[in-house]
């Protein structure tokens, strides 16, 4: 049996930028993002795939980074909360979360934002029920979800306007 290497070397496309990474092979994508790339915007609430706080987009799809082996992500596009804003201009979802009370403690916010982004990138013409369905795997203990849904609905309206 071949020896397990101490570290592996891969390249990710992180928020549109090619990034070489080197990490111990047992690490999850969550750990590599936070510990090796210093992208601490992505949070963890359980590290067991139960809470959704660590959601990021892998090739545009929302994935739980705590259940994704970092080894599997070579050459893939990874989007995190750090890549949402354009320079200092907030993404419509970010602005809406800030304005509508979508964040209280803010700990679930990055995971919520990325999950919502995947939803609206696919189709900004969504109902409240579709929004609730999309974020039903992301737990929030502060808001009771209502203002999060309000925020996503408001951002969706803005994004629909921008597409016209």
């Amino acid at each position: 049996m071949a020896a397990i290497p101490e570290r592996v070397h891969l390249t990710y496309l992180v928020n549109g930028e090619e990034v070489p990474v080197s990490f111990a092979p047992y690490k999850t994508l969550l750990e590599v993002l936070r510990e090796d790339l210093n992208l601490t915007g992505t949070k963890h609430g359980c590290e067991l795939g139960e809470c959704g706080a660590c959601a990021v987009l892998i090739d545009g799809e929302p994935k739980l980074s705590c259940l994704t082996l970092a080894l599997e992500c070579g050459g893939r596009s990874i989007q995190t909360v750090e890549g949402l804003a354009q320079g200092t201009t907030l993404h419509p979802l970010q602005a809406a979360f800030a304005d509508h009370g979508g964040s209280q403690c803010g700990y679930c916010t990055p995971g919520m934002l990325m999950t919502a982004k995947a939803l609206l990138d696919g189709n900004p013409n969504v109902s409240r029920e579709q929004i609730k369905q999309a974020i039903s795997g992301n737990l929030c203990r502060c808001t009771g979800y209502q203002q999060i849904v309000d925020a996503i609905e408001s951002a969706a309206a803005e994004m629909r306007g921008a597409r016209k």
């Binding site: 590290e47 304005d99 803010g106």
Partner: protein, 819 residues
């Protein structure tokens, strides 16, 4: 327009919170996001036994494991600690005894978490297992083995009794006496952030601990005690908390451990608890068994209440002495209650310690009281809303227990939810399977007395302005997500007539911010807010004097609004806010003021009168609609209406967010959240273990379970509160659980007298109903508790002075006050 009469610039406007942008960009740095050069990582070894003596700990193998820098055990922490001065019963690492599964025993500090975890496996601990106490009933039956060698007796931690007026006499004279027992299961905070702490010795040789804490001040004091270091050599920074809900109030073992390790090693040491460990840390809602004996007149007025509570405290004291009081002291605040007897007992058990969770000790008796009122209304054939409306406490009145009510909007809250839910045409009229339930509640706006006795302010604020136009406000208050920084900025901005974006908040740092006692008891808006108001008014006065000279008008005719400082009678005559600062700085020197706040003295004088008084009380009324499937017992909640008496909403977006968040947490407690334990079979040690130390097994509401919430904010400004603003963080949770229970009764005619109300219980009750039996699920009896002889206090209406009657002869003869 006078300077005092100007319209609000900031208060009452929907605004983006001051920390909203950082949260939406992921830039808010929580404790586990922090990294320092040369940082090491810590993991703790926890007890697999609920109750055992530690006979031996062998750490040599772990210490020699490559990459390990330090192993700590109980002998490194000889000094105990605890949040309450009367319950200093915890050690950072257990020295000789473990009291629950998860009690920390040893800690390893290593180059990374993986190495630390490997080394934990190499620590050998020899335990002598002791019998375990799993419930308050067992604790009462088994005084031995004692879980702690302090407390009232056996395994009773706290035991108390108060009687305000002769309750038995009043019950005997009542038209009806209702006797009901209820049980409220324990549950936990489940904040999204797992607690993390980073300790470092700074360049000046002093200790810095950055940590997930709601109460950096109390932690600071306890660190000084445990580490035996002067407090002035320790700095605690409360990192922005990823939710608290009471779970980060207690000073925690892991905080002491990393602080000690950093001091020993001279290197930064970080720990982040796993989710499983967060369940062990707990300090959540106490399971409480309750018995209410309540007298009423035939037209639905309360005559007296005898309330008995029995709390399951878990393995340590935590906030227990306060929690015990809170299972009764706020009960008389909502409705007129001429006489009140309250007996409470907290026992130790071999489970994770219970402590404060949102509502601290009051949701349990609130559940019982409001469900019992529903039964009373039914028996007296009164509408439950009318019954309550006819007996709400009056503004500025005193309760039988000598609490001063202050402002109250409860009647308006009831009217609002009744109107908005179309209660009158729908309650008791919906088809079988659908129902409405109503409940009310009250909560305090800050505890009137500090956790440790002192005469110093409860909150202090320092304000610094300079010619650049920046306004920096320093305060020890901590941000948990509830919006305390936004409240602070709002109050300063309103007084100075500027945008909140100009105010920089520096908070929760014992090294540089004046002391605020912490984010608990819904105290921040009122106490920090009043301190901020004083500091801001002082600096405005200095600026108004300088501006008045330049404008040639009296200082009291200077208005601060919309970023300008101008003459009240001629708004065109004025200057920018920045120019006004420069004038004042030239005239008076550096512009810095302080403000502080101490709550008013409470009217009660008896021993124990310090728990319950508050500068103001908030009130809530709630209507819940339910749909119950009689085949499965499944409960759906399509809509909730809530009206909350907030005094004034400083930022309505945030206020509504707090209300909906409170409803959410209450609904979770009503329907599913429970922290329960099971005993392993004897061949597997017989230990008590969590049934569910994970987020998957501990059920909480998702976005799909959460109903639409209709929120009405009732604004009747309270004179004791800044701009009249009362609390909103805890109160709105309280009426949800009983409103759900009452709605289920309206829907299918069964009484579930315990929380959570799960489909299996509804189904069992429906089976009882179909069998012609009492359709009720709940505790059958209340055990015999050896409560002490009550402290007897005459209520204000009966000529008392707020003090205890020392001798029995002082107690009025029954015939004199007989109804």
């Amino acid at each position: 327009m006078s300077a005092q009469e100007k319209r609000f610039d900031v208060v009452g406007k929907n605004r983006r919170r001051v920390d909203g942008r950082a949260k939406a960009t992921g830039q808010t740095q929580f404790a586990d996001d922090l990294v320092l050069p040369r940082m090491l990582h810590c993991k703790m070894l926890r007890s697999p036994h609920p109750h055992a003596v530690i006979e031996e700990i062998l750490t040599a193998k772990a210490a020699k494991h490559p990459g390990v820098h330090l192993v700590l055990t109980g002998k490194d922490f000889p000094v105990p600690f605890g949040i309450m001065p009367v319950s200093l019963d915890e050690h950072a690492l257990a020295p000789e005894r473990v009291r629950y599964v998860g009690d920390p025993i040893a800690a390893v500090v290593a180059k990374d978490e993986q190495t630390a975890a490997e080394a934990l496996e190499l620590i050998e601990v020899k335990f002598r297992v002791l019998p375990t106490i799993s419930s308050p009933q067992e604790a009462l039956q088994n005084p031995e083995p004692r879980i702690h060698d302090y407390g009232e007796q056996g395994n009773i931690h706290r035991n108390q009794s108060y009687e305000f007026g002769d309750v038995e006499e009043a019950l005997a004279a009542s038209d009806h006496v209702f006797e009901d027992t209820f049980f409220f299961e324990g549950n936990t905070h489940l904040a999204m952030e797992q607690q993390a702490s980073l300790a470092a010795v700074e360049g000046d040789g002093k200790l810095l601990l950055t940590t997930s804490t709601q109460n950096p001040h109390y932690l600071h004091r306890q660190l000084s005690r445990v580490l035996q270091m002067p407090a002035a050599h320790i700095r605690v920074i409360a990192a922005p908390n990823g939710g608290g809900f009471g779970g980060k109030c207690d000073p925690a073992n892991h905080e002491m451990v990393v602080a000690k390790a950093a001091l020993v090693l001279g290197r930064p040491v970080k720990i982040c608890l796993t989710r499983e460990e967060v369940f062990y840390q707990h300090r959540g809602r106490h399971p409480v068994l309750m018995k209410f004996r309540t007298g009423v007149t035939k037209d639905g007025k309360l005559t007296a209440m005898h309330l008995q509570t029995l709390l399951d405290g878990g393995g340590y004291g935590s906030h227990g002495p306060a929690s015990t009081f809170y299972t009764g002291v706020l009960t008389p605040v909502t409705y007129e209650l001429p006489r009140f007897k309250f007996e409470a007992c907290r026992t130790f058990t071999n489970k994770p310690p219970c402590g404060p969770k949102r509502g601290h000790g009051t949701p349990q008796p609130r559940f019982g009281q409001e469900v019992q009122l529903d039964k009373i209304a039914e028996k007296l054939k009164l509408d439950p809303a009318e019954l309550r409306l006819n007996m709400v406490t009056k503004r500025d009145s005193l309760t039988a227990s000598w609490l001063r009510i202050g402002s109250t909007g409860l009647a308006e809250c009831i009217r609002q939810v009744v109107a908005r839910s179309d209660w009158k045409s729908r309650y008791d009229k919906l088809p079988f399977g659908r129902g409405l339930g109503l409940a009310c509640s009250a909560y305090m706006c800050g505890a009137g007395v500090s956790i440790y006795w002192n005469k110093m302010p409860h909150s202090a604020v320092q304000l610094l302005l300079d010619r650049s136009g920046q306004v920096t406000v320093f305060c020890g208050a901590t941000e948990l997500g509830q919006g305390s920084d936004d409240v602070l900025a709002t109050i300063v901005a309103e007084v100075l007539g500027i945008d909140t974006g100009l105010v920089r908040c520096v908070t929760g740092d014992t090294g540089i911010t004046p002391i605020d006692l912490g984010s608990y008891s819904s105290r921040v808006t009122i106490m920090m807010g009043n301190a901020a108001l004083q500091a801001a008014e002082r600096v405005r006065e200095t600026m108004a004097e300088a501006a008045s000279e330049s404008l040639g008008i009296p200082p009291d005719r200077v208005v601060f609004s919309q970023g300008r400082v101008f003459a009240a009678e001629d708004p065109g005559k004025g200057m920018s806010f920045v120019e006004a600062i420069a004038l004042a700085e030239a005239k008076s020197g550096t512009l810095s003021t302080v403000g502080s706040y101490s709550p008013p003295k409470a009217p009660g004088k008896y021993k124990g009168a310090g728990v319950g008084p508050s500068p103001a009380y908030s009130f809530s009324a709630c209507v819940v609609e339910t749909e119950v499937d009689p085949r499965t017992g499944w409960i759906t909640v399509p809509k909730i209406w809530i009206a909350h008496d907030i005094g004034r909403a400083l930022n309505p977006v945030l206020a509504r967010g707090q209300v909906i968040g409170g409803i959410y947490m209450g609904l979770g407690e009503a329907l599913m959240e429970e922290q329960v334990f099971r005993r392993l079979p004897p061949k597997l040690s017989g230990a008590l273990v969590h049934r569910m130390p994970s987020m998957l097994e501990y059920k909480s509401l998702t976005s799909l379970d959460m109903p639409e919430v209709d929120v009405a904010l009732i604004e009747d400004p309270d004179p004791n509160c800044p701009f009249g603003a009362k609390e909103v963080g805890q109160g709105p949770l309280l009426p949800v659980m009983p409103a759900v229970a009452n709605a289920i009764y309206d829907a299918v005619g069964v009484r579930i007298d315990e929380v959570p109300i799960t489909p299996d219980k509804v189904l069992r009750a429906l089976e009882l109903k179909n069998a012609g039996k009492n359709p009720r699920i709940g505790p059958e009896q209340f055990p015999s508790v050896p409560y002490p002889k009550p402290i007897f206090v005459l209520p204000p209406g009966e000529g008392g002075d707020g003090g205890e009657l020392k001798s029995p002869e002082d107690k009025p003869e029954r015939k004199k006050v007989a109804a």
